[in-house]
Symmetry: C2
Subunit: 448 residues, 2 copies
């Protein structure tokens, strides 16, 4: 299927560069909305607008729904006001809110005012929850059933909402006060006798509060293998439902963010090929400058030990090796713990267990690397230099693994993204301390 | 809910360290299978076995189904043969295959022989697909309907399979030759009249072949927001169904692997706290040694330029800064492209577009950093050294971004995990070439 998509893309690109709208229309004609989507996500902003306006009306709406909010926002800027208003009204309330977050406040306000009163009310409900909370990503359009209802009546409710509910496969069960008391799957309803009460066929519910961070809620939905996770207020009253496809979108964005931060950049939020180069530069330059400022620490450390360096220029040969190995060991530990945190395998209260394990692991790694370093360097540059390198690697690895393991937990406790605090900053910290260790060991062993 | 889980874990740990099985049983009694799971995933291997044997029989099976295959395998080694056989028979065919992949061949063979003939046949079917393909992860237990069937008959089939099918919400539609012709959702069936033909209410199917890499298929399922994705053979005959929860598990494992490789370790495959320290050491030591061997290149480069270093010891002060900045720039590019590859936003055939963008981005970043470096270093160490640093940063950033952006695409073309090839190896490569650039620039500018 990928080969077919590639052919389609080539045909679209040819038509675009040829400038013939007739050709372009002919290429687009037979494509499904999903095919159009995968083409759109690989074009620049101007080409996207040209292509989008050639789509038939129903395909256009489906394609628009499938785009991520930043791309939706890009596209809107190229359309007429009436087109924008009708596209916006066609979205689900949760998708509307994601888009509103991307738009300038003035445009957002105008769009909201253009909605019908009931649609505006539903949208405002979702808008009321804090940024980054699951309240913003849940769907208020679900089918809840009362616990005392009969299975037959519950199935009738399902039939009545086949067209408008986000899902009919998981139904939250509530009491007279709209408090969540359980969930029932459509499968269980179909299996039960029509006169049984919903309360007797439902199962215990997992749920999250609407103020829960979106990533935590989405991870809960995924870990429990649920098709939908009920969302409640602080009094356990039902306010919405998180469906598994929305949970997946939340997790994918969170993982892109983690990956980007671990690599020392900001996440792009748009597909790479449709992101302008200037945006890419902006996503990287602040990190790069911050890290360079951190790296200037190493210049100061080396400056402080300049006399030692002048006495033994051979020591400068191993500077990149020593700090590189320290950085690698620290990054390994940080990567493992950051991932374990994201998967909820480890929590900040485990800090001592993590420190204990990482110190032991670092010591073991340092012993192995140090032994190799000692032998090889002793052979090539003499026993004393070998001893310096071996001892330094032993200490630096132990230190780096401990710091690397603990840092993400500290970040989480401080409510900072653990990925921000981890790899690049650990490298900087370990670089500077590693050099101090190196020169202190060298002075002691060589008697300088 | 997390606070409650923490309390439960403390209670279990207290009971375990107290050695009182009665206490432990009392703590476990009221727990749901999901609660038990989250406790188990945070214990060491011995404690896991103790706790598991105290569970009631039905809770035990549910807990076992919820564990990842490596933990299942750990647990089996602590149980009696008859317990093992009955647990194994209770699993779904696809879960059985994941577990078999973890077990020694002898144990696996014995377990397979212990199955009933029809269960063994279903398992063998899944086992027949190549490692890492979606054929191994799909469920053969689905409900397919024939295209000419009436909606009423299709619903009757759903009712008949409520207990054994993996899902009844997405039904693949097939022709007389079992070739996939569409899918129909339970929602669509409920909405349609009973006498309509399934063929008139079904929609076009997305599907994948059973030999497709598991990650590609899972990404397809997630991107298209499908609850289930049909899996076919090369002739488009239906052989299974990938459900969204299994797709999620595949994606989570793939992302753990990417994160680990990008950080220079092997993925652990078990929750961090229940992984023995020796396993953690093993997951890191090979990478660390390989990277240290790579880093020995920097020793050789510095050795080659030792006379230059002796003439100008001040040059050695900036070695960590120069290689660090190059490494960071390269890692940023590699991280962005590796993620874009995972999300299918970029493909190997885009290599020239990526190279063009990254060269421009690297040049822009290098110009900014170089300008800052030039000014600061010129102020502190004189104009000539400042010029060396500024020029070096300009060249190194351009080079590093280009190499970092292209490397993951090359890796993908060579069918190597792009994450393996990327961050740590780029650092090593950029470190060595960066040093060569640095000393060549220094010699030219300083006339050494």
């Amino acid at each position: 299927m990928t080969a077919r998509e590639d052919q389609t893309l080539s045909a679209v690109e040819d038509a675009l560069s040829g400038g013939s709208l007739t050709d372009l229309r002919a290429v687009l004609g037979p494509l499904s909305p999903a095919d159009v989507l995968s083409v759109l996500e690989r074009l620049g902003r101007k080409d996207q607008a040209v292509l989008y306006r050639l789509l038939s009306k129903d395909v256009a709406l489906q394609v628009f729904e499938g785009l991520d909010a930043p791309l939706q926002s890009d596209l809107l800027s190229g359309l007429r006001d009436d087109e924008v208003t009708s596209l916006f009204a066609g979205l689900d309330p949760d998708d509307r809110v994601s888009l509103l977050d991307e738009l300038p406040a003035k445009v957002a306000g105008r769009l909201l005012r253009g909605l019908s009163a009931p649609e505006r009310a539903k949208t405002a409900e979702v808008l009321g929850y804090p940024h980054g909370s699951i309240g913003r990503r849940m769907s208020p359009e679900h089918v809840a059933v009362r616990v005392e209802t009969s299975v037959a009546d519950a199935l009738a409710r399902v039939h009545a909402h086949l067209d408008d509910a986000e899902t009919v496969y998981t139904l939250p069960v509530v009491d007279a006060g709209r408090r969540l008391v359980g969930v029932v799957s459509l499968r269980d309803l179909l299996r039960a006798g029509p006169h049984e009460a919903v309360g007797s066929v439902m199962t215990a519910a997992h749920w999250v509060e609407a103020t829960t961070p979106a990533e935590t809620a989405a991870r809960e939905c995924a870990d429990r293998k649920l098709l939908a996770l009920p969302v409640t207020d602080a009094d356990r009253r039902l306010v919405g439902l998180l469906t598994v496809d929305d949970a997946l979108a939340v997790l994918e964005a969170a993982e892109s963010e983690d990956a980007a931060r671990a690599g020392g950049t900001e996440p792009l939020r748009r597909p790479y090929l449709s992101t302008p180069a200037a945006t890419i530069v902006r996503s990287r330059v602040v990190w790069l400058l911050a890290l360079a400022v951190g790296a200037s620490l190493t210049v100061q450390v080396l400056d402080a030990f300049e006399t030692t360096l002048e006495q033994m220029v051979v020591l400068s040969l191993f500077v990149p090796l020593v700090i590189g190995t320290g950085g690698n060991t620290g990054n390994q530990a940080a990567t493992t713990i950051t991932r374990a945190l994201a998967l909820d395998d480890v929590r900040p209260r485990d800090v001592l267990r993590v420190l204990g394990r990482e110190a032991r692991v670092g010591l073991a790694l340092g012993a192995m690397l140090g032994a190799v370093g000692l032998c090889v360097v002793a052979l090539l540059y003499g026993t004393q230099v070998g001893l310096v390198i071996g001892l330094t690697l032993l200490i630096v690895c132990t230190l780096a693994a401990s710091v690397g393991g603990v840092m993400p937990l500290v970040a989480r406790s401080l409510r900072v993204d653990p990925a921000v605090f981890s790899n690049p900053f650990i490298t900087t910290f370990v670089d500077a301390t590693g050099l101090v260790v190196y020169f202190l060991v060298a002075r002691a062993v060589l008697g300088l």
